[in-house]
């Protein structure tokens, strides 16, 4: 079955082509929304089935299968194929992408039902799945890069989907440009790899890892990591992700939570062998991850936009994954990628369901003749929604438990694994730093549980606040309703996965402590052992159990604290109190540490100034001024003289002669 792996990649492309081309050319087809929606969904679901079948045929010891389609670029010693790699890591990612992708496609059919660009939306989604699958299934760096750029383009298209809104178009541009900065570093890393081993094929690279001596390994690792900071939204390039929430909510769930943003983690896991040879690069990864985690968590604490909270929480969780990578826990990072895909997709879709309902309220009030304008994403307008939207509430709550790390929910296992690796890394080189990072991570875990319950409680508990806040919205509550089944069904599936997903990676010491024999309860660990290198955990049982206990205490403590402070409509008062207590620190969080402002002041404004003052003056004064000075056409020769007088063509000639001097000087001396 593995030889049919190319079908997994090609089918979403076909879906994109059919929906895109038919939609573009036929007015009638655009109206067939259910046809379009189901076609797009099956274009993802069928690859999921194929991937699942391949997955069933594999076991933890299977050798990687490489399927070569055709030679892509061939130039002398350099060749690059369109080739896909089936191994434990790529099939795992493919399952997540197509599985979560299918659910989000189904959800989108409900969410985007009334949108004019329905066909375009689904075409883009399929294109994204195609690019993402190329990224995770590629057998060489160049094809991986193709997918890498492809997901960037799709993300750009989808963030700017409602392009008529100026702010959204800007957000799309911002995302694209920040990503390009990262891509550039990745490209250079790729060149260095090629220069070192003479090929971009994974097989060749991995069997020649010894060629990367210290410095090269460090630089390749760092450059790849910079690439990852762009795509996976880490400091200093994370600012695009919160703005990217301007896109439709299913897009936020699929691209900006579950799949695309984890591609940086995938990339580093792929190259785990390389990273393990460079402790300095690992340290950098861990430090950046840790800082991002805490910075994003503190910002999330202050946000009121329901999607913004989730966005910062995503950035923070991605930071967690990089912490795991940096401490050698590559499997732990992948574990968190998977569980995070479940609960964060569920949370985003749940928030989409809420926003959908709030929009509906606004719409109905409008219908009634009352023009009430409020922000449908502001959680201060919500409250008490659990009465009206029970399915959304229950699934949202389950996912919140998962992300908070409450025992037996999936997030508990994956987060616990990361903390264990961090603490373990404290025993090795740069130990002190890793202990500090562990402390930071525990603090972040506390904050995570706290702000997530703040969100859930403010949104779903208490009383519905909209009627009290806006004139004319007194009877708004009667328009609140649960979303259709096409939206709640995916929510339930994802919530179920968020609940039980953790059991794929139960730590082995949970069992071995009591049985004192080798146990293989950690399925994920065994599954990925062939394709990743990782640090060994050498902590004694006692320490391991203590770490688990600390994690539980922190998570449960934060939950209880949040419950006391935010339940029963105490939300805004609590926030005011916190603001008072933390003073300027809180203001810093609220201002998002002024990252955007700093970039504005450091890069964008000087750049514009340079362009305006120097280059534009050059252009205006010299070139355009010249245009104005030209005489009429009749005086052909007359204007020739005037050229000479205005001196502009002289300028050209002078530049030319300076060039001549330069060239002669370079070549004869």
């Amino acid at each position: 079955m593995a030889e049919f792996v190319w079908l997994i990649v090609v089918i979403p492309l076909i879906g994109f082509l059919i929906n895109g081309l038919l939609g573009l050319s036929s007015e009638g087809y655009r109206k067939q929304k259910s046809v379009i929606g189901w076609l797009a969904t099956f274009a993802v679901f069928v690859p999921f089935l194929i991937a699942f079948q391949i997955f069933l045929e594999m076991n933890a010891g299977s050798e990687p299968v490489v399927v070569r389609l055709f030679t892509w670029i061939e130039a002398g010693s350099f060749t690059s194929d369109i080739a896909y790699r089936v191994d434990q890591l790529s099939i795992l990612m493919a399952l997540v992408v197509t599985g979560v992708g299918t659910l989000i496609h189904i959800y989108s059919m409900g969410y985007m039902k009334t949108d004019e660009g329905f066909y375009k939306f689904f075409a883009y989604l399929n294109l994204f799945i195609f690019a993402m699958l190329n990224l995770v299934m590629a057998n060489n760096l160049l094809l991986l890069f193709l997918g890498w750029e492809g997901v960037g383009v799709c993300s750009y298209l989808l963030i700017g989907f409602w392009y008529k809104d100026m702010e959204k178009a800007t957000a799309a541009n911002k995302a694209f440009i920040y990503n390009r900065v990262g891509d550039f570093a990745f490209l250079v890393a790729m060149f260095l790899v090629f220069r070192t081993v003479g090929s971009l094929d994974f097989d060749v690279i991995f069997s020649n890892l010894h060629l990367f001596n210290g410095d090269i390994a460090f630089w390749v690792a760092v450059l790849m990591f910079i690439g990852a900071t762009g795509k996976s939204a880490q400091i200093p390039l994370f600012v695009w992700l919160p703005d990217a929430m301007a896109g439709p909510t299913p897009v936020s769930a699929l691209i900006h939570a579950a799949t695309m943003v984890t591609s940086g983690i995938y990339l580093i896991t792929r190259f785990s062998g390389l990273y393990m040879t460079s402790p300095e690069a690992m340290l950098l990864v861990a430090v950046i991850g840790g800082l991002t985690a805490i910075v994003a968590a503190t910002i999330a604490l202050t946000q009121y936009d329901i999607k913004k909270v989730l966005a910062y929480s995503t950035v923070s969780q991605l930071g967690f994954m990089f912490l795991a990578l940096g401490s050698g826990g590559f499997v732990a990072a992948m574990f968190h990628v998977v569980t995070h895909a479940f609960f964060k997709a569920c949370l985003f879709l749940g928030s989409g369901s809420v926003i959908h309902a709030m929009h509906h309220v606004e719409h109905e009030l409008e219908h009634e003749g009352k023009h009430v304008h409020f922000d449908p994403q502001d959680m201060r307008n919500m409250g008490g929604l659990k009465e009206y939207m029970p399915s959304t509430y229950k699934t949202f709550l389950i996912s919140t438990f998962a992300i908070a790390g409450i025992p037996v929910f999936s997030g508990f296992f994956s987060k616990d694994e990361i903390l264990a690796y961090l603490f373990n890394a404290g025993l090795g080189e740069f130990g002190a730093v890793y202990y500090a990072l562990w402390g930071l991570a525990v603090l972040t875990a506390f904050l995570t549980a706290f702000y997530m319950f703040r969100l859930t409680l403010t949104t779903f508990h208490g009383t519905f606040k909209l009627p009290g806040k806006f004139k004319g919205a007194e009877n708004a509550a009667k328009y609140l309703h649960e979303s259709p089944a096409s939206m709640t069904a995916p929510l339930w599936i994802l919530a179920a996965l968020a609940l039980v997903g953790g059991f794929m990676g139960v730590p082995e010491f949970f069992v071995t402590t009591f049985t004192s024999t080798d146990a293989t309860v950690n399925w994920l660990y065994a599954w990925l052992s062939g394709v990743t290198v990782r640090a060994a955990i050498i902590l004694p049982y006692g320490v391991k159990w203590t770490l688990v206990a600390i994690a539980i205490v922190v998570a449960v403590g934060a939950t209880i604290l949040a419950y006391r402070m935010y339940d029963n409509d105490k939300g805004e008062a609590t926030d005011a109190a916190i603001r008072e207590r933390f003073g300027s620190l809180y203001a810093t969080w609220e201002d998002k540490y002024k990252f955007d402002e700093a970039y504005e002041a450091m890069i964008i404004r000087p750049g514009n100034r340079l362009a305006d003052r120097v280059l534009a003056v050059f252009d205006v004064k010299i070139l355009d001024g010249f245009v104005n000075a030209i005489g009429s056409i009749v005086q052909f020769f007359g204007s020739l003289l005037r050229f000479v007088q205005t001196g502009v063509i002289n300028t050209y000639a002078i530049a030319f002669v300076v060039g001549v001097i330069l060239i002669i000087g370079l070549l004869i001396f």
């Binding site: 573009l24 055709f70 030679t71 892509w72 670029i73 061939e74 130039a75 002398g76 010693s77 350099f78 060749t79 160049l142 890069f145 193709l146 750029e149 492809g150 383009v153 700017g160 392009y163 008529k164 178009a169 799309a172 541009n173 694209f176 440009i177 900065v181 550039f184 490209l187 250079v188 060149f191 260095l192 090629f194 220069r195 362009a611 305006d612 280059l615 050059f618 252009d619 070139l623 245009v627 030209i630 056409i633 204007s639 020739l640 050229f643 063509i649 300028t651 050209y652 000639a653 530049a655 030319f656 300076v658 060039g659 001549v660 330069l662 060239i663 002669i664 370079l666 070549l667 004869i668």
Partner: protein
């Protein structure tokens, strides 16, 4: 007879020359402009057919007492030039009628120009190079000035002429010095000469200066924005693709055949030029509001990337340059073609990026095409432009020019900004007033679709072509010395 054989091997150029003369005579007998256009297309079509055949079948050979070559790089250059001209004429005809400047003399001039380009791209002797270069340039000077009710047109023609004449002086002096040093004008014979005296280096520098002027590398670029903006849009496409290709192919040939032993010594010079060109081209393109002017500056930037390939001074570098030229021809003719279409619908001043607002939805096909071309120009994967850049940069890395390539990659990342900006206006902005676009002619849109398909095709499977180009240099002296 030998001469017949030579002419057969030189058939594309011969056909184009005869075609040019025929069309000129037709104009003399006051033929309708439609007839002139059709005749031009017939001759170009035959020439394109022959050029394709040569490209695929003809083995490298020297003709006309070693003055020129056939097959190999010569066939490659000829093909791109004739291909570019073929589509330029289709677009130009439509465009010039649209802007009411359809002079009949344009067609013979385009043919003569193409002839000059072919001579240039196939040359094996500096004398041939010179004659080809001048034939091409004289025609381009005149073509730049077609639109005369716009002041820019005359201005650009005149400036181009004066600066061109200036550079010709340097070129001739360079040839003279090289002849003085080596006693020959033939490329292989100059190449056999290894003792680099001062005269030799003087000749090399002046020769390179002249070429840098023709391909508009910084600091010899200053004519480019004016000329590219002032010329009719489709002629600009022609200058920047076919014209640049011919000059670059000749330059690569000169480097490969006449200067193989000094390739490493030229690296520093080319690197500096590449650096300046990439930085200035991209930086200035970024602040342009006029799309045509933006494309003009961006074409300077592309020259910078091409010089990275030259700086590599290796077979990989030279073949990357040739592939780049092929890719650039597809995407740039295409991009200018769409720009010309928008312009034709209104007036020649319709070039400001703001006037593109919302146009992407008016004629979706044109918007999509422009997006494809711009993506390719920006070097986004699955486009020919990405592969071209990739090959050039990897050749640079192989030659150890890491920092130069880093700047190149950064510059090309920055270039995404101004290409995307056009797309932002096309799709993400509402048009201020309702601008209506007339439906493009079938042949016009088919040509553009064809170019877009080629752009994508060479983005997905460039393998065959790159291998073929690589083969051209199999007998290169560089391969013997390469590590």
């Amino acid at each position: 007879m030998e001469i017949i054989n030579d002419l057969l091997l030189f058939l594309p150029a011969t056909i184009v020359a005869i075609g040019g003369l025929t069309v000129m005579m037709l104009d003399g007998y006051k033929a309708r402009s439609r007839t002139i256009y059709t005749t031009t297309m017939v001759f170009l079509g035959i020439a394109l057919g022959v050029a394709s055949w040569d490209l695929l079948m003809q083995a490298p050979e020297l003709i006309f007492s070693d003055m020129a070559g056939a097959g190999g790089t010569a066939a490659f250059g000829t093909f791109i030039v004739v291909f570019g001209t073929f589509f330029t004429v289709i677009l130009t005809h439509d465009y010039l009628i649209g802007v009411k400047h359809n002079f009949p003399q344009v067609y013979p001039l385009l043919m003569f120009c193409t002839f000059g380009m072919i001579v240039l791209a196939t040359a094996n002797d500096l004398v041939t190079v010179f004659v080809g270069l001048e034939t091409m340039s004289v025609c381009l000077y005149a073509l730049a000035g077609i639109i005369r009710d716009k002041r820019l047109g005359v201005e650009s023609a005149l400036k181009y002429f004066v600066m061109g004449a200036f550079s010709t002086g340097f070129f001739l002096y360079g040839i003279t010095l090289l002849y003085g040093a080596t006693g020959s004008t033939s490329l292989p014979e100059i190449g056999a000469y290894t003792d680099g005296g001062l005269i030799y280096w003087g000749g090399v520098s002046l020769l390179l200066v002249a070429f840098m002027f023709k391909v508009s590398a910084v600091p010899f670029h200053m004519w480019t924005p004016d000329v590219y903006t002032g010329s009719p849009t489709t002629i600009t496409a022609y200058m920047s693709t076919a014209g640049k290709t011919a000059s670059f192919v000749a330059l690569v040939l000169i480097l490969d055949r006449a200067m193989p032993f000094i390739a490493t010594e030229l690296t520093a010079t080319f690197s500096i030029i590449a650096l300046l060109t990439m930085i200035l081209g991209n930086a200035v393109a970024m602040v342009q509001d006029n799309v045509k002017r933006m494309l003009a500056y961006s074409s300077i930037a592309h020259v910078g990337y091409l010089f990275v390939g030259l700086a590599a001074g290796s077979v990989a570098g030279y073949s990357a340059v040739l592939f780049y030229l092929l890719a650039y021809t597809f995407m740039n003719v295409g991009a200018f073609g769409v720009v010309a279409y928008y312009e034709k619908n209104h007036d020649v001043h319709f070039n400001n990026v703001e006037s593109y607002a919302g146009l992407g939805y008016q004629r979706p096909i044109m918007g999509v095409l422009l997006s494809i071309f711009l993506f390719s120009l920006a070097g986004i994967p699955i486009s020919a432009g990405f592969n071209a850049k990739y090959l050039v940069f990897s050749a640079g890395i192989e030659a150890g020019l890491v920092s130069l390539v880093v700047v190149g990659v950064l510059a090309s990342a920055a270039s995404a900004y101004y290409y995307l900006r056009v797309m932002v206006y096309l799709y993400f902005r509402e048009g201020k007033e309702s601008v209506s676009l007339i439906e493009p002619k079938k042949v016009y849109s088919f040509s553009l679709v064809f170019l877009a398909l080629l752009t994508l095709y060479f983005g997905v499977v460039p393998g065959g072509v790159t291998e073929m180009i690589y083969g051209y240099f199999s007998d290169s002296m560089l391969t013997a010395t390469a590590p």
